[in-house]
Each structure stands twice: as C-alpha cells, then as structure tokens.
Symmetry: C2
Subunit: 408 residues, 2 copies
C-alpha cells in the first residue's frame, strides 16, 4: 500500500499492471470512466463470494461474522486514504445526492444566523436541487446564490453560510482551488461542502490539509465501484461531534440494536449513516478499491495530465472545428477533456459506434474522461484519429444520430 | 403470473417448487427470513450476468441499452402487484429510512395547519428517528405522539397531520388493521404513512383498496432481495401530482439529463427518485422477485398462518416457560411468532448453534420468522423440538452465550 504515500518523482505505479485488472471490451477505447468506471475483474469473484459464501451460507449472521455492519466505516477509510481524510472521518452509504443533503443541512445548522448557500453554475445540478429542496423544507428564507465559477471567491461575504462546490466541473473539467477557496470561505465565516464526484480517484485531494469542513462523493466514476455504487461523506473531526444529523436513521444511532424509541446520534462519523447498508454493492466497490493498493494517486495524476495534454494536441491537429472548453493547463483540469462542437451529439454517437466511448452533454459538449489506470498514450492517439475521421468527413448519418438519448 | 390473482380457496402454489428456488445451508432451519431472506439461487447467475454482460461489456451504455434507468419503476411495479398498488405508483431506491423521510415530509406539507405525527410504541425505531430528525429541521413545533398500538384509533384527532405506523410489529408480529385505521385517519383529516417492512411478501396488502396515502418498505426480508436491498415507496395516485419532494434529487427531475439548474419534479411517482439507482443490488432483487411469478401471496398467507399456529402449539407443548407475545389468532399476526423468555439471549444463541436460526430482540424476546416459500410443517416441528431440548435442559453454557452481539 506504499504507492499512496510516495513523495518523490519516480513513478511507482505499473500502469500495464493496473490496466490488466480491468475488463475492457474488445475494440473499445473507453473515455467515459468519468461517468461509469469499467468492471474490475476481481469484482466478479468478490461479488460471487459475497452471494454464495456470505449471504447464502451465513444468512443473517453475515452482519456480524462477515463484518457487513462495519463496512461503511472500513470502506470509508479506504477512500479516506485517497482524499486526505484521517481514519474515522469518512463513511459510506446512500447516494451522492443524499450525502449532499446531509452535509448542507448540517452546515446550515452550524451557521444559523446566515441565509446564503453560495455555489457556481458549473456545479452538478443535483447538488443544487438537493439544497433547494432542503431550504424549501426549512422555510427560513435561505437562498442559493449561484455565480460564475471564477466569481466564487469574490462572492464570499458574511451572508454566506455554506460554500457548496464541485471541485471538478462535470462538463468542462475546470478545477477549483480547494485550499484557496476553503481559506476564503473560512475568512468570510462560511463553511465548505466539497463535492468530489469527479475528483476522487482522479487526483490527489487533501481534505484535512485544506481544512475542508464537509466533503461528499460518488464511487462509480474514477473509483470504478459499479453502476449506482454507494456514496461517501467526510466530516471534519473538528465538527463531527456537533453535527445534528438531519437524516437521523437507526444506523447513525449510538446503539442501533438497543431499539430505543429516542434518537441519540453516535459519537463520530457513524452518525452520518442512515439505513441498512448496501452489502452487495459494497462487495463490488471494495474489490474495485484494491487497485489502489498497487497505484499511487500521484502517479495517476501525473499520467492523467500527460494523457490529457496529448489528447488535446492530437484532437486539435485533426479537428479545427472543435473548441476546447476544458482548461488548457493540465494543472487547472480534472481528469477529463471536453470540446464544444456544433454537431456534438451525432458525432459522439458515430464515435461510440466506432468503439471510442465518450459522452455528450447538452447542448454541444463532447466529453472525454482520461483514466490512466486503464488508458495509455496509444489510446489517446487512436481515439483522436477516429474522431478526426468522423469530424473531417461528417460521418454521422442516419436517424439514430439525430435522436438524443439519456446517458449519465 | 396468475397465482397472484386467484380468488378461490384452492392453493395454486407448489411450495416444494418454491423451496427449491432458494439456497438453504445444509442442516439449517431458517426462521430469520423476517430479517434477511435467503439467497434465491437464480440471483447468483443474474448478478454475474449484470457484472459481465452488462457493466463489463456495455459500460455506460447499460443505462439505456440494458434498461438500468427504468429499473426503479419496473421493479416498483413488480412489488406493486404484491401490495395492491397500481402500475406507476411504486418506485424503488435508497433505504427504508430515507423513504420514511420522504413520505412523512410530503404528508406534513399536505397538512400545513396540523402539528402531530401519531405513531405507536411498536413502530420500528428508525421510523420515529427519521420523523424526529425531520421535525427538528422544520422547526415549526411539530411533535411525535407515540401511544400504545391498541390506542392508535382513539388518539386520532384534528391535531394529527400524519398517522405513521408499521403494519406488522417487528418484535411481536402484531398486525394493525390497515383499512380500518386508514379510514379512521381520513375521518380525522389525517394522512397515513404505512411501513410495510414486515408485510411485503408476507401477507396480501391492498394499498389502493385501503385508500392508503403513502407506503414504504424494504425488500431484504420476505422479498429476499439480499442484504441492504433497495427500498420502495408508494404514493397514492390521488396525491402524487401535489407532492413536493423534500429530497429533490436529479433522478426525480422532469428531465434529469437536461441538467437544468432549476428543479422541476417529474410528473408522477418518479419524482420520489433521488440519486443514481443501485444497479447491482437491483439485479439480485429482480431475480428474487421471480418466485412471485410462481407463488400466490394468498397461498403464502394461508400457509404462514397454519405454520405459525403449528409452531406455537409445538413450542408451548415443550416450553411452558416461554410466553407467547405474538397474537394467538393468526389473523392478527404477521408472518412471525415471538416468545418472551427470561434467558432469551443465550437460549437463542444455543439454538442458532444447533442450526435453528431465529433472532433475539432486547430485552427478552425470541423471534421466529415464518416464510412459507421455503419452510414447511416439518421445519416447525423440528425447530420446536430443538428449542424444547435447549429450554428443558438449560443448554446455554459458556461465555459466548452471555455476550450480546448486534444482529439486525
């Protein structure tokens, strides 16, 4: 497990090895791991074992004997190592939207005299929807103030209770400076809720070092936990003892199995648990996290920046009609590259038909995830060649390229 | 699929056949399916297929091409058939605690002038905890009034906004009369939220016929969906158009993939969706529901009543020190039988060690789930014999029988 903690410049990660740990369909270059990571091979066997040996044989005893009950904390700690969170400060469960709700609700209660949730137009809409639902329920005149990403720092004032941001923009890949904005928020007396959906497993994060108050994230993107894999929440150890859980479920209770009629929250991060944990999903996620025993997030980041730069160069050489909407500087990007293109939707469909899977974001964005655990420079070149051919020759004919379908 | 809809007295369900559909460990009599149902054999293959053929090969395209996105509604309709809910009125996701929160929040908003949530001491604590967390957040002087189960009808008055009840008591198995209490609640101007955790898959439920407003439930008990399987929520078609989702996540949005910054709820039950659905867990649950294509819930109920009666008779013959705390009349019980016993904890541990798995509820309850899909009269007799031997001879020696451990 040493690769996580390296501090020199020598890459210690064998990316041929990490690539071999995933199933990638024949002939596919997968540039959508920022939506749904691919299947880690070991997940098949791990889930089968969970079903047959644990659920099948242990039945109800699995909660104790197979450690099911402690998985939210144990897996939370595994993710904590990737995001700069100390043991006991991250717990798993529910979905990212639910975790946003919990974090924002807790933060608002800690700033009772303030009424503004500050966010930006690049935030993932569900984060804003959840905050909106919360403040409507509260009915105390809170408002969500949404500004341009670059205007966030300047919009922090003493009305702001919570700064709610996604570190890496889901469309453009633009990356916020977490440490700087957290400092600025604190200077203004506000708390921070960082959404790490497009960060966790993509780049080094230092929640403790940045002084982040709350953070949330999903695990089906760069952490490869599978479709609908459970979410995580981090609460700063400085705050956790004072957080009143808005979603006060039994598994956040101090003694869930006492079945008291009155709620008393558990002492630490476990109070952010709500209901019965999703054990089958945890088996896949836990297996997916094994790759981090052999990979350094620092190496992954370095390779992601190089691959992203290479992809931009290769695409721009071939496709002058595509406009880069991601930051050109790799430092300012997450692990994706996005282009604006008039025919983005049909061109992406044509590209997918030729085995290069990226995705489309309305109205005109072609989005490409760069996941170094299973992608290399050759993939970048071949993807750009295919895209170049499609764009140069307008190869998107037929009705299926005109109908927009839902993709996450 | 006809067995669900039978209306004569001839059993149409082949219980030898249904039993063959489950994995039951050698030598085990499993009387804890009211906590966690056993593994349906077909779930192994179905989950493996989801991993390899869908996630592995389709990758992100699974959301459309494998129908992942529509599973919350499709599986909801499968469960709807077992609980008297019309198609399009049940949707899957999250945990039961989260679904309780959604239902109570919606109901309170529909009765803005009232301040009381009425429940009973037999309700599952997490339901009360979630309601408590909600009303603390609202901060508008709501209160939870908790009375004895038999006093619920008399406690309904014009202060009550919501009647929040679990139909079948998780400890005693006592069953509320859903139709009568729903009528009484409506007569008092209150709305109902029914928790079907110990009902769904155990007995026929007629939500539409009873005029229930909201219902919620889990799927890992008598529906055998696996540890931590997703929950469901029902909203009466009469109300759904007026429900404002408190947990307003993107998958409840009218157009999730438009990525609008403003939330607009979907037109129907889909507005109760929150975040990305748990697809791996759905594969197991969907497989588990196949048994209902061959089993009638009416047959299951008839057999459950007979098996429960038989178990009571057999136990009482052998164990005069055990006091039945479940209703003696099968009509008034759910699908479990519970006894009070001074040495409940160590006796249950000893019983489990001898392959008869029930569970313990503090301080002194031995609880036995009766799941006719995989249990028969012979199991009842053999379980009672083993229990009788343990009780008659005080066979619970050694330290492991004195330490209480967590079980759900």
């Amino acid at each position: 497990m040493t690769p996580d903690r390296k501090d020199n410049d020598q890459p210690m990660t064998d990316f041929n090895r990490t690539r071999s740990l995933f199933h990638l369909p024949e002939g596919v270059i997968y540039l959508d791991g920022n939506s749904l990571g691919p299947l880690p091979l070991v997940a098949r066997e791990r889930v089968a074992r969970l079903l047959c040996e644990e659920w099948g044989e242990m039945l109800i005893r699995g909660w104790n004997d197979a450690g099911w009950m402690t998985q939210p904390a144990r897996i939370g700690d595994r993710i904590g190592r990737l995001i700069g969170a100390a043991p006991g400060t991250v717990v798993m469960g529910d979905t990212l939207s639910i975790k946003v709700y919990q974090a924002v609700a807790a933060a608002l209660e800690m700033r009772p005299e303030r009424r503004v949730i500050l966010s930006d137009y690049g935030n993932f809409p569900s984060d804003l929807y959840m905050a909106d639902g919360l403040i409507r329920s509260l009915g105390r005149g809170h408002e969500i103030r949404t500004v341009a990403p670059e205007a966030v720092g300047g919009a922090l004032d003493e009305s702001v209770a919570v700064l709610l941001l996604t570190e890496v923009d889901y469309r453009t890949g633009r990356r916020h400076d977490m440490a700087r904005l957290t400092r600025a928020a604190h200077a203004a007396g506000a708390l921070t809720v960082w959404d790490l959906a497009h960060s966790a497993g993509a780049l080094p994060i230092d929640l403790a070092g940045a002084g982040a108050d709350f953070a949330v994230g999903c695990t089906y993107k760069f952490l490869n936990g599978g479709p609908g894999a459970p979410a995580f929440i981090y609460v700063s150890p400085e705050h956790i003892g004072r957080v009143r859980p808005a979603l006060s479920g039994w598994l956040g209770h101090e003694a869930p199995f006492a079945f008291d009629l009155d709620y008393r929250s558990g002492p630490g991060i476990e109070r952010m648990r709500v209901g019965t944990p999703p054990i089958i999903a945890f088996a896949a996620l836990d297996a997916a996290l094994d790759v981090w025993d052999e990979a350094s997030i620092h190496d992954v980041r370095a390779r992601s920046m190089a691959l992203g730069d290479r992809f931009i160069t290769e695409v721009e050489q071939r496709c002058p009609g595509l406009e880069l909407v991601s930051p050109r500087s790799a430092e300012d990007r997450g692990s994706q590259v996005s282009f604006r293109f008039e025919h983005a939707y049909p061109a992406m469909q044509a590209l997918i038909d030729r085995g290069v899977i990226g995705d489309f974001r309305a109205p005109d964005i072609m989005r490409f995830g760069i996941a170094p655990l299973y992608l290399d420079a050759d993939d970048m070149v071949r993807a750009a060649e295919t895209l170049g051919d499609i764009v140069a020759h307008g190869r998107w004919d037929g009705p299926r390229y005109r109908e927009q379908r839902a993709v996450t």
